[in-house]
Symmetry: C2
Subunit: 322 residues, 2 copies
Protein backbone atom coordinates (compact mmCIF):
# COMPACT_ATOMS: atom_id res chain seq x y z
CA UNK A 1 0.00 0.00 0.00
CA UNK A 2 1.38 3.35 -1.00
CA UNK A 3 0.68 6.58 0.81
CA UNK A 4 1.18 9.51 -1.53
CA UNK A 5 1.37 12.97 -0.02
CA UNK A 6 0.37 16.29 -1.50
CA UNK A 7 3.85 17.37 -2.56
CA UNK A 8 4.36 14.14 -4.53
CA UNK A 9 0.89 14.46 -6.03
CA UNK A 10 1.50 17.98 -7.30
CA UNK A 11 4.86 16.86 -8.68
CA UNK A 12 3.53 13.94 -10.73
CA UNK A 13 0.57 15.98 -11.97
CA UNK A 14 3.10 17.77 -14.19
CA UNK A 15 3.45 14.53 -16.17
CA UNK A 16 -0.29 14.03 -16.69
CA UNK A 17 -2.73 15.59 -19.15
CA UNK A 18 -5.48 16.07 -16.60
CA UNK A 19 -8.02 17.61 -18.98
CA UNK A 20 -7.90 14.55 -21.24
CA UNK A 21 -8.10 12.28 -18.17
CA UNK A 22 -11.22 13.98 -16.86
CA UNK A 23 -12.83 14.19 -20.32
CA UNK A 24 -12.40 10.43 -20.73
CA UNK A 25 -14.10 9.97 -17.37
CA UNK A 26 -17.12 12.08 -18.32
CA UNK A 27 -17.46 10.17 -21.59
CA UNK A 28 -17.30 6.79 -19.84
CA UNK A 29 -19.85 7.99 -17.30
CA UNK A 30 -22.31 9.19 -19.92
CA UNK A 31 -21.86 5.95 -21.87
CA UNK A 32 -22.87 3.94 -18.80
CA UNK A 33 -19.40 2.50 -18.34
CA UNK A 34 -18.97 3.83 -14.82
CA UNK A 35 -20.53 2.67 -11.57
CA UNK A 36 -21.22 5.80 -9.55
CA UNK A 37 -23.64 5.28 -6.66
CA UNK A 38 -25.40 8.24 -5.02
CA UNK A 39 -23.14 10.57 -3.06
CA UNK A 40 -22.77 9.88 0.65
CA UNK A 41 -23.19 12.98 2.75
CA UNK A 42 -22.83 14.34 6.27
CA UNK A 43 -23.98 17.88 6.96
CA UNK A 44 -23.03 19.74 10.14
CA UNK A 45 -24.53 22.97 11.42
CA UNK A 46 -22.20 24.11 14.14
CA UNK A 47 -19.72 24.91 12.82
CA UNK A 48 -21.14 24.67 9.30
CA UNK A 49 -19.59 21.92 7.25
CA UNK A 50 -20.41 19.29 4.72
CA UNK A 51 -18.71 16.04 3.90
CA UNK A 52 -19.15 14.23 0.63
CA UNK A 53 -18.21 10.65 -0.07
CA UNK A 54 -17.97 10.01 -3.78
CA UNK A 55 -17.03 6.55 -4.91
CA UNK A 56 -17.24 4.10 -7.74
CA UNK A 57 -15.31 2.58 -10.60
CA UNK A 58 -15.17 2.07 -14.30
CA UNK A 59 -16.76 -1.26 -15.23
CA UNK A 60 -14.10 -3.97 -15.53
CA UNK A 61 -11.28 -1.61 -14.53
CA UNK A 62 -8.43 -2.51 -12.14
CA UNK A 63 -9.54 -0.06 -9.46
CA UNK A 64 -12.31 1.38 -7.43
CA UNK A 65 -11.94 4.73 -5.70
CA UNK A 66 -13.47 6.25 -2.60
CA UNK A 67 -13.06 9.97 -2.16
CA UNK A 68 -13.91 11.80 1.04
CA UNK A 69 -13.94 15.58 0.81
CA UNK A 70 -15.16 18.23 3.19
CA UNK A 71 -15.92 21.93 3.23
CA UNK A 72 -15.94 23.59 6.66
CA UNK A 73 -16.75 27.21 6.04
CA UNK A 74 -15.55 28.69 9.33
CA UNK A 75 -12.12 27.03 9.01
CA UNK A 76 -10.38 30.23 7.87
CA UNK A 77 -11.11 31.64 11.35
CA UNK A 78 -8.97 28.77 12.69
CA UNK A 79 -6.30 29.38 10.03
CA UNK A 80 -7.30 26.11 8.39
CA UNK A 81 -8.25 25.68 4.73
CA UNK A 82 -11.97 25.38 4.02
CA UNK A 83 -11.67 22.25 1.94
CA UNK A 84 -9.97 19.03 2.86
CA UNK A 85 -10.02 15.41 1.83
CA UNK A 86 -8.33 12.33 0.52
CA UNK A 87 -8.72 9.68 -2.15
CA UNK A 88 -8.42 5.94 -1.62
CA UNK A 89 -7.63 3.58 -4.45
CA UNK A 90 -8.49 -0.12 -4.15
CA UNK A 91 -7.97 -3.22 -6.27
CA UNK A 92 -11.29 -4.05 -7.94
CA UNK A 93 -10.41 -7.77 -8.05
CA UNK A 94 -9.53 -8.24 -4.38
CA UNK A 95 -10.52 -5.19 -2.32
CA UNK A 96 -6.89 -4.55 -1.38
CA UNK A 97 -6.09 -0.94 -0.52
CA UNK A 98 -3.52 0.09 -3.12
CA UNK A 99 -2.99 3.71 -2.29
CA UNK A 100 -3.99 6.54 0.02
CA UNK A 101 -3.71 9.86 -1.75
CA UNK A 102 -3.36 12.42 1.03
CA UNK A 103 -4.19 15.29 -1.26
CA UNK A 104 -5.79 17.44 1.50
CA UNK A 105 -8.68 18.21 -0.83
CA UNK A 106 -6.44 19.40 -3.65
CA UNK A 107 -7.48 16.71 -6.13
CA UNK A 108 -11.12 17.62 -5.54
CA UNK A 109 -10.35 21.27 -6.13
CA UNK A 110 -8.33 20.37 -9.20
CA UNK A 111 -10.82 18.03 -10.84
CA UNK A 112 -13.55 20.62 -10.21
CA UNK A 113 -11.45 23.29 -11.94
CA UNK A 114 -10.70 20.87 -14.79
CA UNK A 115 -14.42 20.24 -15.29
CA UNK A 116 -14.90 24.00 -15.52
CA UNK A 117 -12.22 24.27 -18.17
CA UNK A 118 -13.81 21.39 -20.08
CA UNK A 119 -17.25 23.03 -19.87
CA UNK A 120 -15.78 26.28 -21.24
CA UNK A 121 -13.94 24.41 -23.97
CA UNK A 122 -17.17 22.94 -25.31
CA UNK A 123 -19.71 25.61 -24.39
CA UNK A 124 -18.17 29.08 -24.31
CA UNK A 125 -18.94 31.44 -27.21
CA UNK A 126 -16.26 31.70 -29.92
CA UNK A 127 -14.96 35.04 -28.75
CA UNK A 128 -14.66 35.52 -25.02
CA UNK A 129 -14.96 39.22 -24.22
CA UNK A 130 -14.20 38.95 -20.54
CA UNK A 131 -14.18 36.17 -17.99
CA UNK A 132 -16.43 36.71 -14.99
CA UNK A 133 -15.57 34.98 -11.73
CA UNK A 134 -18.08 34.94 -8.90
CA UNK A 135 -16.26 34.28 -5.64
CA UNK A 136 -12.72 34.86 -4.39
CA UNK A 137 -11.71 31.53 -2.86
CA UNK A 138 -9.53 28.64 -3.97
CA UNK A 139 -11.93 27.51 -6.66
CA UNK A 140 -12.22 31.07 -8.02
CA UNK A 141 -8.43 30.98 -8.47
CA UNK A 142 -8.13 27.47 -9.88
CA UNK A 143 -11.01 27.86 -12.32
CA UNK A 144 -9.51 31.01 -13.79
CA UNK A 145 -6.04 29.55 -14.01
CA UNK A 146 -7.21 26.41 -15.80
CA UNK A 147 -9.24 28.49 -18.28
CA UNK A 148 -5.83 29.49 -19.70
CA UNK A 149 -5.74 26.07 -21.33
CA UNK A 150 -8.93 26.69 -23.29
CA UNK A 151 -9.06 30.44 -24.01
CA UNK A 152 -6.62 33.27 -24.74
CA UNK A 153 -8.78 35.78 -22.90
CA UNK A 154 -6.98 37.25 -19.88
CA UNK A 155 -9.50 40.01 -19.04
CA UNK A 156 -11.35 39.27 -15.83
CA UNK A 157 -14.04 40.82 -13.67
CA UNK A 158 -14.34 39.21 -10.26
CA UNK A 159 -17.17 39.58 -7.79
CA UNK A 160 -16.86 39.12 -4.03
CA UNK A 161 -18.48 40.29 -0.83
CA UNK A 162 -15.28 41.61 0.75
CA UNK A 163 -12.99 44.32 -0.63
CA UNK A 164 -10.09 42.70 1.18
CA UNK A 165 -10.61 39.30 -0.44
CA UNK A 166 -11.15 40.94 -3.81
CA UNK A 167 -7.83 42.73 -3.38
CA UNK A 168 -6.02 39.48 -2.58
CA UNK A 169 -7.65 37.73 -5.49
CA UNK A 170 -6.70 40.54 -7.87
CA UNK A 171 -3.09 40.47 -6.67
CA UNK A 172 -2.85 36.68 -7.03
CA UNK A 173 -4.43 36.52 -10.46
CA UNK A 174 -2.43 39.45 -11.86
CA UNK A 175 0.60 37.38 -10.87
CA UNK A 176 -0.85 34.58 -13.02
CA UNK A 177 -1.00 36.88 -16.04
CA UNK A 178 -4.57 38.19 -15.89
CA UNK A 179 -5.90 41.72 -16.01
CA UNK A 180 -8.41 41.90 -13.15
CA UNK A 181 -11.22 44.30 -12.24
CA UNK A 182 -13.15 43.83 -9.02
CA UNK A 183 -16.78 44.52 -8.18
CA UNK A 184 -19.24 44.13 -5.32
CA UNK A 185 -22.08 43.88 -7.81
CA UNK A 186 -22.83 40.69 -9.73
CA UNK A 187 -24.77 42.69 -12.34
CA UNK A 188 -21.46 44.13 -13.44
CA UNK A 189 -20.07 40.64 -13.99
CA UNK A 190 -23.15 39.68 -16.01
CA UNK A 191 -22.92 42.86 -18.06
CA UNK A 192 -19.24 42.67 -18.97
CA UNK A 193 -18.52 38.96 -19.22
CA UNK A 194 -19.72 36.30 -21.61
CA UNK A 195 -17.93 33.42 -19.82
CA UNK A 196 -18.89 33.36 -16.15
CA UNK A 197 -17.86 30.85 -13.51
CA UNK A 198 -19.64 30.85 -10.16
CA UNK A 199 -17.66 29.29 -7.33
CA UNK A 200 -19.40 30.09 -4.04
CA UNK A 201 -21.31 28.06 -1.42
CA UNK A 202 -24.21 30.56 -1.68
CA UNK A 203 -27.66 29.37 -0.72
CA UNK A 204 -29.49 32.27 -2.40
CA UNK A 205 -28.95 33.06 -6.08
CA UNK A 206 -26.17 35.51 -6.95
CA UNK A 207 -26.90 35.86 -10.66
CA UNK A 208 -30.32 36.96 -11.94
CA UNK A 209 -31.73 35.94 -15.28
CA UNK A 210 -32.62 39.55 -16.16
CA UNK A 211 -28.93 40.51 -15.94
CA UNK A 212 -27.62 37.77 -18.24
CA UNK A 213 -26.93 38.85 -21.80
CA UNK A 214 -27.48 36.65 -24.84
CA UNK A 215 -24.32 34.83 -25.85
CA UNK A 216 -23.23 34.08 -22.31
CA UNK A 217 -21.98 30.79 -20.97
CA UNK A 218 -22.19 30.23 -17.21
CA UNK A 219 -20.47 27.40 -15.37
CA UNK A 220 -21.81 26.89 -11.85
CA UNK A 221 -19.49 24.81 -9.67
CA UNK A 222 -20.33 26.05 -6.18
CA UNK A 223 -23.47 24.10 -5.45
CA UNK A 224 -23.05 20.45 -4.57
CA UNK A 225 -25.87 20.06 -2.04
CA UNK A 226 -29.63 20.43 -2.50
CA UNK A 227 -29.70 23.70 -0.52
CA UNK A 228 -26.85 25.56 -2.21
CA UNK A 229 -27.80 27.74 -5.18
CA UNK A 230 -25.84 30.33 -7.17
CA UNK A 231 -28.10 30.88 -10.18
CA UNK A 232 -31.63 32.15 -10.34
CA UNK A 233 -33.59 29.14 -11.63
CA UNK A 234 -35.00 31.39 -14.37
CA UNK A 235 -31.54 31.33 -15.96
CA UNK A 236 -31.83 27.57 -16.44
CA UNK A 237 -35.30 27.91 -17.92
CA UNK A 238 -34.19 30.67 -20.24
CA UNK A 239 -30.98 28.91 -21.32
CA UNK A 240 -30.82 27.34 -24.74
CA UNK A 241 -28.80 24.52 -23.28
CA UNK A 242 -28.16 23.21 -19.78
CA UNK A 243 -25.28 20.76 -19.53
CA UNK A 244 -24.98 18.67 -16.38
CA UNK A 245 -21.91 16.68 -15.37
CA UNK A 246 -24.45 14.05 -14.26
CA UNK A 247 -28.13 14.55 -15.01
CA UNK A 248 -29.15 12.13 -12.25
CA UNK A 249 -27.00 13.91 -9.69
CA UNK A 250 -27.86 17.45 -10.79
CA UNK A 251 -31.56 16.72 -10.36
CA UNK A 252 -30.77 15.83 -6.72
CA UNK A 253 -28.19 18.51 -5.90
CA UNK A 254 -26.76 21.55 -7.67
CA UNK A 255 -28.55 24.18 -9.74
CA UNK A 256 -31.01 21.93 -11.60
CA UNK A 257 -32.68 21.04 -8.28
CA UNK A 258 -34.12 24.54 -8.09
CA UNK A 259 -35.54 24.55 -11.63
CA UNK A 260 -38.82 23.00 -12.67
CA UNK A 261 -37.64 19.47 -13.46
CA UNK A 262 -40.33 18.65 -15.98
CA UNK A 263 -39.57 21.74 -17.95
CA UNK A 264 -35.81 21.11 -17.88
CA UNK A 265 -36.05 17.50 -18.98
CA UNK A 266 -39.04 17.72 -21.31
CA UNK A 267 -37.54 20.69 -23.17
CA UNK A 268 -34.64 18.39 -24.11
CA UNK A 269 -32.20 21.20 -23.48
CA UNK A 270 -30.68 19.29 -20.56
CA UNK A 271 -27.80 17.10 -21.72
CA UNK A 272 -24.82 15.45 -20.10
CA UNK A 273 -21.30 16.81 -20.45
CA UNK A 274 -19.87 13.42 -21.46
CA UNK A 275 -22.21 13.31 -24.44
CA UNK A 276 -21.18 16.78 -25.54
CA UNK A 277 -17.52 15.78 -25.26
CA UNK A 278 -18.13 12.57 -27.20
CA UNK A 279 -20.12 14.46 -29.85
CA UNK A 280 -23.27 12.42 -29.30
CA UNK A 281 -25.10 15.56 -28.11
CA UNK A 282 -24.81 19.07 -29.44
CA UNK A 283 -23.13 21.76 -27.38
CA UNK A 284 -23.48 25.45 -28.18
CA UNK A 285 -24.69 25.93 -31.77
CA UNK A 286 -24.57 29.74 -32.02
CA UNK A 287 -22.77 32.62 -30.34
CA UNK A 288 -26.11 34.13 -29.34
CA UNK A 289 -27.15 31.22 -27.17
CA UNK A 290 -27.17 31.20 -23.40
CA UNK A 291 -25.64 28.01 -22.04
CA UNK A 292 -25.25 26.79 -18.48
CA UNK A 293 -23.02 24.02 -17.12
CA UNK A 294 -24.20 22.66 -13.77
CA UNK A 295 -21.22 20.89 -12.24
CA UNK A 296 -21.84 19.06 -8.98
CA UNK A 297 -18.75 16.87 -9.13
CA UNK A 298 -19.08 13.25 -10.15
CA UNK A 299 -17.10 10.38 -8.66
CA UNK A 300 -15.83 9.48 -12.11
CA UNK A 301 -13.65 12.63 -11.92
CA UNK A 302 -12.19 11.44 -8.62
CA UNK A 303 -11.67 7.97 -10.06
CA UNK A 304 -9.86 9.31 -13.10
CA UNK A 305 -7.61 11.78 -11.34
CA UNK A 306 -6.72 9.28 -8.60
CA UNK A 307 -5.86 6.58 -11.12
CA UNK A 308 -3.75 9.00 -13.14
CA UNK A 309 -1.82 10.15 -10.06
CA UNK A 310 -1.32 6.62 -8.77
CA UNK A 311 -0.09 5.28 -12.08
CA UNK A 312 2.20 8.28 -12.60
CA UNK A 313 3.60 7.83 -9.09
CA UNK A 314 4.22 4.12 -9.26
CA UNK A 315 7.91 4.01 -10.19
CA UNK A 316 8.86 6.82 -7.83
CA UNK A 317 6.72 5.58 -5.01
CA UNK A 318 8.15 2.07 -5.36
CA UNK A 319 11.62 3.49 -4.92
CA UNK A 320 10.61 5.58 -1.94
CA UNK A 321 8.80 2.83 -0.12
CA UNK A 322 11.89 0.62 -0.07
Amino acid sequence: MRTIKLDEITKVLENIDPIATIEAGFVAYSEGKAVVPPVGELIFDNPPGDVHIKYGCLVGDDYYVVKIASGFYDNPQLNLPTSNGLNLLFNQKSGELLSILLDEGYLTDLRTALAGAIAAKYLAPTKIRQIGIVGTGIQARLQLNWLKKVTDCREVTVWGRSEEKLGLYKRDMIAKGFSVETTLNTEEVADKCNLIVTTTPASTPLLKSTDIRPGTHITAVGSDTPNKQELDAAILHRADLVVADSIAQCLERGECVHARKDELTAGKNLVELGRVIAGSAKGRTSDEQITVADLTGVAVQDIQISKAVYEACRPEVSKMSN
Copy 2:
Protein backbone atom coordinates in the same frame (compact mmCIF):
# COMPACT_ATOMS: atom_id res chain seq x y z
CA MET B 1 -2.58 12.89 11.14
CA ARG B 2 -1.80 9.52 12.66
CA THR B 3 -1.62 6.31 10.72
CA ILE B 4 -2.22 3.38 13.03
CA LYS B 5 -1.37 -0.09 11.77
CA LEU B 6 -2.93 -3.40 12.68
CA ASP B 7 -0.26 -4.48 15.16
CA GLU B 8 -0.67 -1.26 17.13
CA ILE B 9 -4.45 -1.56 16.96
CA THR B 10 -4.47 -5.09 18.38
CA LYS B 11 -2.06 -3.97 21.11
CA VAL B 12 -4.15 -1.03 22.34
CA LEU B 13 -7.37 -3.05 22.16
CA GLU B 14 -6.08 -4.82 25.28
CA ASN B 15 -6.64 -1.58 27.19
CA ILE B 16 -10.22 -1.08 26.01
CA ASP B 17 -13.50 -2.62 27.16
CA PRO B 18 -14.83 -3.10 23.64
CA ILE B 19 -18.17 -4.65 24.66
CA ALA B 20 -19.06 -1.57 26.73
CA THR B 21 -17.90 0.67 23.88
CA ILE B 22 -20.12 -1.03 21.32
CA GLU B 23 -23.08 -1.24 23.72
CA ALA B 24 -22.89 2.53 24.26
CA GLY B 25 -22.93 2.98 20.49
CA PHE B 26 -26.05 0.85 20.03
CA VAL B 27 -27.81 2.77 22.81
CA ALA B 28 -26.88 6.15 21.29
CA TYR B 29 -28.06 4.94 17.90
CA SER B 30 -31.42 3.74 19.17
CA GLU B 31 -31.88 6.98 21.10
CA GLY B 32 -31.45 8.98 17.89
CA LYS B 33 -28.11 10.43 19.02
CA ALA B 34 -26.17 9.07 16.05
CA VAL B 35 -26.12 10.22 12.44
CA VAL B 36 -25.84 7.08 10.34
CA PRO B 37 -26.74 7.60 6.66
CA PRO B 38 -27.59 4.65 4.43
CA VAL B 39 -24.71 2.30 3.67
CA GLY B 40 -22.73 3.00 0.51
CA GLU B 41 -22.19 -0.10 -1.57
CA LEU B 42 -20.31 -1.45 -4.58
CA ILE B 43 -21.04 -5.00 -5.70
CA PHE B 44 -18.78 -6.86 -8.12
CA ASP B 45 -19.57 -10.09 -9.93
CA ASN B 46 -16.28 -11.25 -11.34
CA PRO B 47 -14.62 -12.02 -9.05
CA PRO B 48 -17.46 -11.80 -6.52
CA GLY B 49 -16.97 -9.03 -4.02
CA ASP B 50 -18.83 -6.40 -2.10
CA VAL B 51 -17.65 -3.16 -0.63
CA HIS B 52 -19.50 -1.34 2.12
CA ILE B 53 -18.97 2.24 3.16
CA LYS B 54 -20.39 2.89 6.59
CA TYR B 55 -20.04 6.34 8.03
CA GLY B 56 -21.47 8.78 10.46
CA CYS B 57 -21.02 10.30 13.88
CA LEU B 58 -22.53 10.84 17.27
CA VAL B 59 -24.35 14.16 17.40
CA GLY B 60 -22.10 16.88 18.84
CA ASP B 61 -19.11 14.51 19.19
CA ASP B 62 -15.51 15.41 18.32
CA TYR B 63 -15.32 12.95 15.42
CA TYR B 64 -16.90 11.50 12.37
CA VAL B 65 -15.82 8.16 10.98
CA VAL B 66 -15.82 6.63 7.52
CA LYS B 67 -15.27 2.90 7.31
CA ILE B 68 -14.61 1.08 4.07
CA ALA B 69 -14.76 -2.70 4.27
CA SER B 70 -14.79 -5.34 1.59
CA GLY B 71 -15.46 -9.04 1.20
CA PHE B 72 -13.95 -10.70 -1.88
CA TYR B 73 -14.95 -14.31 -1.67
CA ASP B 74 -12.42 -15.79 -4.08
CA ASN B 75 -9.50 -14.14 -2.29
CA PRO B 76 -8.44 -17.34 -0.50
CA GLN B 77 -7.57 -18.73 -3.95
CA LEU B 78 -5.06 -15.87 -4.20
CA ASN B 79 -3.84 -16.49 -0.65
CA LEU B 80 -5.45 -13.23 0.39
CA PRO B 81 -7.91 -12.79 3.25
CA THR B 82 -11.56 -12.49 2.25
CA SER B 83 -12.21 -9.36 4.25
CA ASN B 84 -10.29 -6.15 4.18
CA GLY B 85 -10.78 -2.53 5.09
CA LEU B 86 -9.84 0.56 6.99
CA ASN B 87 -11.37 3.21 9.22
CA LEU B 88 -10.86 6.95 8.87
CA LEU B 89 -11.40 9.31 11.77
CA PHE B 90 -12.04 13.01 11.11
CA ASN B 91 -12.50 16.11 13.26
CA GLN B 92 -16.22 16.94 13.28
CA LYS B 93 -15.47 20.66 13.78
CA SER B 94 -13.06 21.13 10.86
CA GLY B 95 -13.05 18.10 8.58
CA GLU B 96 -9.37 17.42 9.33
CA LEU B 97 -8.27 13.83 8.92
CA LEU B 98 -7.13 12.79 12.39
CA SER B 99 -6.28 9.16 11.87
CA ILE B 100 -6.16 6.34 9.36
CA LEU B 101 -6.70 3.02 11.08
CA LEU B 102 -5.15 0.46 8.74
CA ASP B 103 -6.91 -2.41 10.43
CA GLU B 104 -7.13 -4.55 7.26
CA GLY B 105 -10.76 -5.33 8.07
CA TYR B 106 -9.97 -6.51 11.60
CA LEU B 107 -12.00 -3.81 13.36
CA THR B 108 -15.01 -4.71 11.24
CA ASP B 109 -14.59 -8.37 12.11
CA LEU B 110 -14.13 -7.45 15.76
CA ARG B 111 -17.08 -5.10 16.12
CA THR B 112 -19.26 -7.70 14.36
CA ALA B 113 -18.14 -10.34 16.85
CA LEU B 114 -18.72 -7.93 19.73
CA ALA B 115 -22.28 -7.30 18.54
CA GLY B 116 -22.81 -11.07 18.53
CA ALA B 117 -21.57 -11.32 22.12
CA ILE B 118 -23.85 -8.44 23.11
CA ALA B 119 -26.84 -10.08 21.43
CA ALA B 120 -26.12 -13.32 23.31
CA LYS B 121 -25.68 -11.43 26.58
CA TYR B 122 -29.18 -9.97 26.34
CA LEU B 123 -31.05 -12.65 24.41
CA ALA B 124 -29.63 -16.11 25.03
CA PRO B 125 -31.58 -18.46 27.31
CA THR B 126 -30.40 -18.71 30.93
CA LYS B 127 -28.68 -22.05 30.47
CA ILE B 128 -26.79 -22.52 27.24
CA ARG B 129 -26.69 -26.22 26.41
CA GLN B 130 -24.37 -25.97 23.44
CA ILE B 131 -23.24 -23.21 21.15
CA GLY B 132 -23.93 -23.76 17.47
CA ILE B 133 -21.73 -22.07 14.92
CA VAL B 134 -22.74 -22.02 11.26
CA GLY B 135 -19.67 -21.37 9.13
CA THR B 136 -15.95 -21.95 9.57
CA GLY B 137 -14.38 -18.61 8.63
CA ILE B 138 -12.91 -15.73 10.58
CA GLN B 139 -16.26 -14.59 11.92
CA ALA B 140 -17.10 -18.14 13.03
CA ARG B 141 -13.90 -18.06 15.10
CA LEU B 142 -14.24 -14.53 16.49
CA GLN B 143 -17.90 -14.92 17.41
CA LEU B 144 -17.21 -18.06 19.41
CA ASN B 145 -14.18 -16.60 21.13
CA TRP B 146 -16.04 -13.44 22.22
CA LEU B 147 -18.94 -15.51 23.55
CA LYS B 148 -16.52 -16.51 26.32
CA LYS B 149 -17.15 -13.08 27.82
CA VAL B 150 -20.88 -13.69 28.18
CA THR B 151 -21.31 -17.44 28.79
CA ASP B 152 -19.42 -20.24 30.53
CA CYS B 153 -20.57 -22.79 27.94
CA ARG B 154 -17.60 -24.28 26.04
CA GLU B 155 -19.50 -27.04 24.18
CA VAL B 156 -19.74 -26.32 20.47
CA THR B 157 -21.19 -27.86 17.34
CA VAL B 158 -19.97 -26.29 14.15
CA TRP B 159 -21.43 -26.66 10.67
CA GLY B 160 -19.50 -26.21 7.45
CA ARG B 161 -19.56 -27.38 3.86
CA SER B 162 -15.99 -28.71 3.87
CA GLU B 163 -14.55 -31.41 6.14
CA GLU B 164 -11.14 -29.79 5.78
CA LYS B 165 -12.31 -26.39 6.97
CA LEU B 166 -14.29 -28.00 9.78
CA GLY B 167 -11.12 -29.79 10.86
CA LEU B 168 -9.14 -26.56 10.92
CA TYR B 169 -11.89 -24.80 12.80
CA LYS B 170 -12.07 -27.59 15.38
CA ARG B 171 -8.30 -27.53 15.90
CA ASP B 172 -8.25 -23.73 16.31
CA MET B 173 -11.17 -23.55 18.70
CA ILE B 174 -10.00 -26.48 20.85
CA ALA B 175 -6.84 -24.40 21.27
CA LYS B 176 -9.08 -21.61 22.56
CA GLY B 177 -10.55 -23.89 25.22
CA PHE B 178 -13.68 -25.20 23.51
CA SER B 179 -14.93 -28.74 23.04
CA VAL B 180 -15.92 -28.94 19.37
CA GLU B 181 -18.05 -31.35 17.34
CA THR B 182 -18.36 -30.89 13.58
CA THR B 183 -21.25 -31.58 11.25
CA LEU B 184 -22.20 -31.23 7.59
CA ASN B 185 -25.84 -30.97 8.57
CA THR B 186 -27.37 -27.78 9.95
CA GLU B 187 -30.27 -29.78 11.46
CA GLU B 188 -27.77 -31.21 13.90
CA VAL B 189 -26.77 -27.71 14.99
CA ALA B 190 -30.43 -26.75 15.43
CA ASP B 191 -31.12 -29.92 17.41
CA LYS B 192 -28.20 -29.72 19.84
CA CYS B 193 -27.68 -26.01 20.35
CA ASN B 194 -29.80 -23.33 21.96
CA LEU B 195 -27.43 -20.47 21.12
CA ILE B 196 -26.66 -20.42 17.41
CA VAL B 197 -24.58 -17.93 15.48
CA THR B 198 -24.69 -17.92 11.68
CA THR B 199 -21.67 -16.38 10.01
CA THR B 200 -21.79 -17.19 6.29
CA PRO B 201 -22.35 -15.18 3.10
CA ALA B 202 -25.05 -17.68 2.05
CA SER B 203 -27.73 -16.51 -0.34
CA THR B 204 -30.11 -19.39 0.39
CA PRO B 205 -31.26 -20.18 3.93
CA LEU B 206 -29.15 -22.63 5.95
CA LEU B 207 -31.43 -22.96 8.96
CA LYS B 208 -35.06 -24.06 8.61
CA SER B 209 -37.81 -23.03 10.99
CA THR B 210 -39.00 -26.63 11.41
CA ASP B 211 -35.59 -27.59 12.84
CA ILE B 212 -35.42 -24.85 15.46
CA ARG B 213 -36.37 -25.91 18.97
CA PRO B 214 -38.20 -23.70 21.45
CA GLY B 215 -35.82 -21.86 23.74
CA THR B 216 -33.26 -21.11 21.03
CA HIS B 217 -31.55 -17.83 20.36
CA ILE B 218 -30.08 -17.30 16.89
CA THR B 219 -27.75 -14.47 15.98
CA ALA B 220 -27.38 -13.97 12.22
CA VAL B 221 -24.35 -11.90 11.27
CA GLY B 222 -23.58 -13.15 7.78
CA SER B 223 -26.06 -11.20 5.73
CA ASP B 224 -25.29 -7.55 5.12
CA THR B 225 -26.72 -7.19 1.60
CA PRO B 226 -30.29 -7.56 0.36
CA ASN B 227 -29.50 -10.83 -1.42
CA LYS B 228 -27.66 -12.69 1.35
CA GLN B 229 -29.81 -14.87 3.60
CA GLU B 230 -28.94 -17.45 6.26
CA LEU B 231 -32.30 -17.98 7.97
CA ASP B 232 -35.54 -19.27 6.57
CA ALA B 233 -37.88 -16.25 6.85
CA ALA B 234 -40.34 -18.49 8.69
CA ILE B 235 -37.94 -18.42 11.66
CA LEU B 236 -38.41 -14.67 11.95
CA HIS B 237 -42.19 -15.00 11.74
CA ARG B 238 -42.19 -17.76 14.33
CA ALA B 239 -39.78 -15.98 16.69
CA ASP B 240 -41.17 -14.39 19.83
CA LEU B 241 -38.71 -11.57 19.41
CA VAL B 242 -36.59 -10.28 16.53
CA VAL B 243 -33.89 -7.83 17.56
CA ALA B 244 -32.24 -5.75 14.85
CA ASP B 245 -29.05 -3.77 15.29
CA SER B 246 -30.83 -1.14 13.17
CA ILE B 247 -34.47 -1.65 12.22
CA ALA B 248 -34.16 0.76 9.29
CA GLN B 249 -31.10 -1.02 7.95
CA CYS B 250 -32.35 -4.56 8.56
CA LEU B 251 -35.48 -3.84 6.55
CA GLU B 252 -33.17 -2.95 3.63
CA ARG B 253 -30.49 -5.63 4.02
CA GLY B 254 -29.99 -8.65 6.26
CA GLU B 255 -32.53 -11.29 7.35
CA CYS B 256 -35.55 -9.05 7.92
CA VAL B 257 -35.59 -8.16 4.20
CA HIS B 258 -36.80 -11.67 3.41
CA ALA B 259 -39.61 -11.66 5.95
CA ARG B 260 -43.03 -10.09 5.44
CA LYS B 261 -42.32 -6.58 6.68
CA ASP B 262 -45.85 -5.76 7.75
CA GLU B 263 -46.04 -8.85 9.85
CA LEU B 264 -42.65 -8.22 11.45
CA THR B 265 -43.33 -4.62 12.31
CA ALA B 266 -47.04 -4.82 13.08
CA GLY B 267 -46.53 -7.77 15.45
CA LYS B 268 -44.33 -5.48 17.57
CA ASN B 269 -41.86 -8.26 18.08
CA LEU B 270 -39.21 -6.37 16.10
CA VAL B 271 -37.14 -4.17 18.40
CA GLU B 272 -33.74 -2.53 18.25
CA LEU B 273 -30.74 -3.88 20.12
CA GLY B 274 -29.90 -0.48 21.64
CA ARG B 275 -33.32 -0.35 23.27
CA VAL B 276 -32.89 -3.83 24.74
CA ILE B 277 -29.46 -2.82 26.09
CA ALA B 278 -30.87 0.41 27.55
CA GLY B 279 -33.81 -1.48 29.06
CA SER B 280 -36.42 0.56 27.19
CA ALA B 281 -37.53 -2.59 25.31
CA LYS B 282 -37.86 -6.09 26.64
CA GLY B 283 -35.46 -8.78 25.57
CA ARG B 284 -36.13 -12.49 26.16
CA THR B 285 -38.77 -12.94 28.84
CA SER B 286 -38.76 -16.75 29.15
CA ASP B 287 -36.42 -19.63 28.44
CA GLU B 288 -38.97 -21.16 26.07
CA GLN B 289 -38.95 -18.26 23.65
CA ILE B 290 -37.30 -18.24 20.27
CA THR B 291 -35.32 -15.07 19.70
CA VAL B 292 -33.41 -13.85 16.66
CA ALA B 293 -30.80 -11.10 16.40
CA ASP B 294 -30.39 -9.74 12.88
CA LEU B 295 -27.04 -7.98 12.80
CA THR B 296 -26.16 -6.17 9.60
CA GLY B 297 -23.45 -3.97 11.09
CA VAL B 298 -24.19 -0.34 11.84
CA ALA B 299 -21.75 2.52 11.36
CA VAL B 300 -22.14 3.42 15.01
CA GLN B 301 -20.11 0.30 15.82
CA ASP B 302 -17.34 1.47 13.50
CA ILE B 303 -17.50 4.93 15.01
CA GLN B 304 -17.24 3.61 18.54
CA ILE B 305 -14.43 1.13 17.97
CA SER B 306 -12.42 3.62 15.90
CA LYS B 307 -12.76 6.33 18.53
CA ALA B 308 -11.75 3.93 21.27
CA VAL B 309 -8.67 2.75 19.37
CA TYR B 310 -7.64 6.28 18.42
CA GLU B 311 -8.00 7.62 21.93
CA ALA B 312 -6.18 4.64 23.41
CA CYS B 313 -3.36 5.07 20.88
CA ARG B 314 -2.86 8.80 21.27
CA PRO B 315 0.06 8.90 23.68
CA GLU B 316 1.92 6.05 21.98
CA VAL B 317 1.23 7.30 18.50
CA SER B 318 2.45 10.77 19.43
CA LYS B 319 5.73 9.27 20.53
CA MET B 320 6.08 7.14 17.42
CA SER B 321 5.30 9.90 14.97
CA ASN B 322 8.18 12.07 16.25
